[in-house]
Amino acid sequence: MDLKKQTLGSLREMLDTKQISAAELCKEYFDRIKTTDSQVLGYITVTEEEAMKNAAKAQEAIDKGEAKALTGIPLAIKDNICTDGIRTTCASNMLGNFIPPYDACVIEKLKADDYVLLGKASMDEFAMGGSTQTSAFAKTKNPFDLSRVPGGSSGGSAAVVSAAMAPAALGSDTGGSIRQPSSFCGVTGLKPTYGRVSRYGLVAFASSLDQIGPIANSAVDCGIILNTICGKDSRDATSANKPAEDFNAKVGKDIKGMKIALPKEFFAESTDDEVKTAVLAAAKKYEEMGAVLVDCSMKSLKYAVAAYYLVASAEAASNLSRFDGIKYGLRGEGRTFDEMIRDSRSRGFGDEVKRRILLGNYALSSGYYDAYYLKALALKQQIIKEYNEIFENADIILTPTAPTVAYKIGEQETDPVKMYLADICTVTVNIASLPAISVPCGYNADGMPIGMSLVGRKWDEATLIQTADAFEKSFDRRYSEV
C-alpha cells in the first residue's frame, strides 16, 4: 500500500470494506516507522503495544458496523498532550520519565471513537521554538531534505505526516507551531479558533494563545479530526460553548465572490521572494476561481513579534514554575528547598526554555510590567481591532505561512532574535484568537515546500477548509521522497 497517497477518507473506506484490518493497517505504519524514523527522528515514543490494543478495540466497532470517522485510524500525538499511562515528555529532560495519570480531553474524545495511537511526536522543548532542534530526545529532520529543519514546534507531527509515518497527527499552535512546520514539510495544518478545542491535558506554554489542532494531508482530513476533538469541556473554562457543526460542510461549495484580503505588510522585504511569488500565484488561482482579491493593511504588524513574545513568555514563565522536581519530573539535589528546585530546573530545562522564562519574568517584574507586559496587552487589543477592520471588507485573509522555506539545520536556530522574527507571519493569528490553516502552495528551486495561510473570522473554520480545499483540488502536490 502506498502510505503517502492515503487520506483519512481512503483509510476509512479500506477499513469499512474490510480490505484491511485495523491491526494490519497499524502494522503497515509501524513497518514504515521502523524503516524511516531512524532518518527522520519524528517520534519520541512509539507505542506499538498500545496501538495493537487500540486496533483490537477498533476492529470490534468496525465489525459491528459502528465505526466513527476515526475508528481504527492511526494517529501521531504531539508529546505535550497528556496520554494516560504513556510517557509524555514535552521533549524535555524535565519530563523525561513523566507518565501522566490522566488523558487530555482530546485523547478522551479520540479514544471514545477508538482511534489508534502510533506514538508521541517530537517537538521543540515545551513547544518553544520553530525548528524542533531544541528537542531533548529527537531532533527531527525535514523529510523533503534531511539536512533541513522540519520547522516547529510541532516539527515531529508535521514530519511524520510528511514522511507517511502517520496519516495525520495532532500538534499544538501558540505562535505558529502547527502552521509553520506544516508549511516547511509540505502538509496541511489547522489552528482552530482559540477556545474551539479543550486545552485540558495540553501542557501549557502560553495559556491565552495555545490551541491543539490537526496536521494531515488535506484540509478535509483536518476537518474530520477537528469534528472529533472540538467541543466545550467543563475542565477548561476558556473552551467555548459552540453548537456542534461539521467543519467539512462547505467543502465543494463555490467560492465565487469570496473576498480574500492580502495585508501588504506580510508581503514586504522580510518575506523571501520565492515565498511571495508562490503565495501570490495562489492568490491569482483564487481569482481565477472567482474570488475577489482585496488590498488591506495591518499597521501594527511591526510590533506583533515583540508583543507576542512578551505575552507568551510571561505566561510561560508562570506556567513552567510548577516544574520543580517535587511532584513529578527531574528531581535535582540540594540541602534546601531553594537549592533543590534550582538544580531541578537548571538541569531539566534547555537553553531556549530558560531564556523564555527569564524574558517572561523580566516582562512581569516590578518596574517593567507596565512598559512591557501591559503594553503588549494593549497591542493585542490593537491587533484584534485591525483584524476586525480587515474582516469588514473580506471573508478570509491570505498570507505566507513563513517568510522562508525550511532552512538548513544549524543555520539560524542559535540566533534567538532571528528565530523570533521568523514568526512574523503567524503570531498575529494567535494574538487575535483566530483560526488559520496552512496549505502547501508551491515548491522552491530546491524542491522545498512553500506554505500559504488562510486566516478566518472567529469560529469560521468551515470557510477556511472550504477555501483551502478549493485550492488543494487543483494543486499538484509533491510528496517527500524519504
Binding site: N80, I81, C82, T88, C90, L95, F98, P100, P101, Y102, A104, R199, Y200, G201, L202, V203, A204, A206, S207, S208, S234, R235, D236, A237, T238, A314, E315, A317, S318, S321, R322, F323, D324, I326, K327, Y328, R335, F337, D338, I341, N361, L364, S365, S366, Y369, Y373
Partner: protein
C-alpha cells in the same frame, strides 16, 4: 514620648463550599493525606483551574454584610512565588479587580462604638499545606487544603489597640457564620489574621515603620501578639533604635514574635491576569438575588426576639452573640412555641453550664428538641421550675430524655387536689389576718399565702394549680 499604635488587618476566612475553589475536589476538613486532591489542585502539567460559583456567591454575601461595593466586573490574577505549599508555584488571587471594594463594620469596644473601614475583600485559593514534619532534613507535604476557597478581608489601618482588633475579629467571625459562608472553626484554621502594626507619637501625621505578624489563629494569639509587638517596638524606639520592616511569626509558647528569616520577605509577585479564568460581569438581578438570599444577621434576629417574642434586649444579645446558641434557640422554639421561658432558661441555666465548661454545644448528648420539651414540662406544671435544673444536669450527663429523667427521679408534680384543698384551707385558717388583708384589697399578701402553701405542698401541686385554687377560695 507617648507612642500610639496604628494597626491594619488582613483576615483570611475559608468558605463553606462543597468543592474547592478551582477544582471539584471535596473541601471537607480532614481526610488521609492527599486524599482530597486531583491533578488540578496538585499542579500536574496540563491542568486548568475552573472557578466555583458558590465561592463567588459567598464572597458577594460577605461583601454585602460588610457594606462593600460589589464590582460589576471582576477578574483573577496570578501571584507568583515558590513555596512548598504552592503546587503550581503561583497562587490564584485577585489584584486590581477584586469582588468587593470599600465597606465598613461597626464594633463596640469598652462601651464605645467605632466604625472600622474595609479596604477590599477578594477571593483566592488557600495555599496552606499540612506539613507533618518527618526526619530532620525534609518535610512531608499534603495538598488536601490547597485550593480551599479563601476570602481575604483587608481593613484600613483604623485600629489602635488589641481590644479593638479582637472585638472586630470576633464580630467578623460571627457575621460570617450567620451569613453561612464560613464556619468560624478557628481550631481547624477556618479563619486566620495577619496584623500590620506600627507605632508613632500620638498626634503625629507620619506613621512609623510597620511590621507584619502573620497567621494568628485565635483571639488569644491576636491579643498577645499585638501586645508583645507594641512592647517590642516601644522598647526599640525608646532606646533610639530603628524598627525594621519585616514579616514576623508569633510563637505561642514564648508569647514573642520572631523574624521569618527567609528570602520570602522580598517578594516580587509579578501579578498578572490569569489567562485560564475568564473575568465575570454581574447583572443587577444576579446581585440582588444573592443579597436577598443572605440569612438573618444577628441584628435582625435581635429585632425579632425583642420585637416579636418580647425577650429582653440583654437576653437577646446573649442569645445572638453565638450563632450556635441562637440556632439552638431557633430549633427549640420550632418544637415548643413559647420563646420567653426557653430564652430565659438558655440565658440563665444553659449558658451558665457552658461557661463553667460543663457543656460544649458542639458536642451535646441532648438536642434542642429535648431542651424544648423540658421547658414545656415546666410551663405546663408537670414539673416544678426548680427541678428543671436537676433534669438538665442529668440530660447533660446522660443524654436521657427529660420525661424519662422525671420518671426515674420521681419529679412529677402529682396533682393531689384533696391535699391541695386541705392545705389551702389549713393555711387560710391559720392566717386569718392575711386573708382579711387580701380581701380588703391588699393583694400583695397573696405571695405570702402562696409561699406558705408551697412550703407544705412541696411540689405536690403545680404553682399554677395552687394559685388558681387559692385565688378562688380567697374570693370567697
Amino acid at each position: 514620648m507617648k507612642l500610639y499604635p496604628t494597626i491594619g488587618l488582613e483576615i483570611h476566612a475559608e468558605l463553606l463550599t462543597n468543592s474547592k475553589v478551582f477544582c471539584t475536589c471535596s473541601a471537607e476538613f480532614g481526610g488521609e493525606p492527599n486524599s482530597r486532591c486531583c491533578p488540578v489542585c496538585s499542579g500536574l502539567p496540563g491542568t486548568l483551574p475552573v472557578l466555583n460559583a458558590k465561592a463567588v456567591e459567598y464572597i458577594i454575601k460577605a461583601g454585602y454584610i460588610m457594606n462593600c461595593e460589589i464590582s460589576r466586573f471582576t477578574k483573577w490574577d496570578r501571584k507568583n512565588y515558590f513555596y512548598p505549599d504552592l503546587p503550581k508555584a503561583y497562587q490564584i488571587s485577585q489584584m486590581p479587580r477584586p469582588v468587593c471594594l470599600g465597606g465598613h463594620v461597626d464594633v463596640t469596644v469598652d462601651g464605645e462604638q467605632k466604625t472600622m473601614r474595609i479596604n477590599r475583600i477578594h477571593l483566592e485559593e488557600d495555599a496552606r499545606k499540612l506539613v507533618h514534619d518527618d526526619i530532620e532534613r525534609v518535610s512531608l507535604a499534603d495538598y488536601n487544603r490547597c485550593g480551599i476557597p479563601l476570602i481575604e478581608i483587608v481593613t484600613e489601618p483604623d485600629f489602635h489597640s488589641a481590644a479593638e482588633v479582637v472585638a472586630f475579629f470576633e464580630k467578623i467571625r460571627m457575621m460570617l457564620q450567620y451569613a453561612g459562608v464560613c464556619d468560624g472553626k478557628l481550631e481547624q484554621g477556618s479563619m486566620r489574621c495577619d496584623v500590620n502594626i506600627s507605632l508613632a507619637e500620638k498626634g503625629s501625621d507620619k506613621l512609623g515603620t510597620r511590621t507584619e505578624v502573620k497567621n494568628l489563629n485565635s483571639t488569644k494569639a491576636i491579643q498577645r501578639a499585638i501586645e508583645y509587638e507594641i512592647y517590642r517596638q516601644t522598647e526599640l524606639i525608646e532606646n533610639g533604635e530603628r524598627v525594621v520592616q519585616e514579616t514576623l511569626h508569633f510563637n505561642d509558647a514564648t508569647g514573642e514574635t520572631s523574624s521569618l528569616r527567609s528570602k520570602e520577605d522580598a517578594h516580587d509577585y509579578r501579578y498578572f491576569p490569569d489567562p485560564d479564568i475568564p473575568p465575570i460581569i454581574f447583572t443587577e438581578e444576579e446581585l440582588a438575588a444573592i443579597k436577598a438570599d443572605i440569612p438573618e444577621m444577628p441584628e435582625q434576629r435581635v429585632a425579632r426576639y425583642t420585637g416579636e417574642y418580647g425577650i429582653s434586649a440583654a437576653d437577646a444579645k446573649v442569645l445572638t452573640d453565638s450563632k450556635s446558641i441562637s440556632d439552638f434557640f431557633e430549633e427549640a422554639i420550632k418544637v415548643y412555641d413559647n420563646p420567653k421561658p426557653i430564652a430565659t432558661f438558655i440565658v440563665v441555666e444553659l449558658m451558665r453550664r457552658i461557661n463553667l465548661g460543663e457543656l460544649d454545644l458542639d458536642d451535646m448528648k441532648f438536642t434542642a428538641e429535648d431542651f424544648a420539651k423540658l421547658i414545656e414540662l415546666g410551663e405546663s406544671g408537670k414539673i416544678s421550675k426548680d427541678n428543671r435544673k436537676i433534669i438538665l444536669r442529668e440530660m447533660i450527663e446522660s443524654g436521657k430524655k427529660p420525661a424519662d429523667i422525671a420518671e426515674e427521679q420521681q419529679l412529677w408534680i402529682k396533682e393531689d387536689n384533696e391535699l391541695l384543698e386541705k392545705t389551702i384551707n389549713d393555711i387560710m385558717a391559720a392566717n386569718p389576718k392575711a386573708v382579711e388583708q387580701y380581701r380588703s384589697g391588699e393583694t400583695k399578701v397573696f405571695g405570702f399565702l402562696m409561699g406558705q402553701c408551697n412550703k407544705i405542698l412541696r411540689g405536690a401541686a403545680s404553682p399554677a394549680s395552687v394559685k388558681a385554687m387559692l385565688e378562688e377560695k380567697l374570693k370567697g
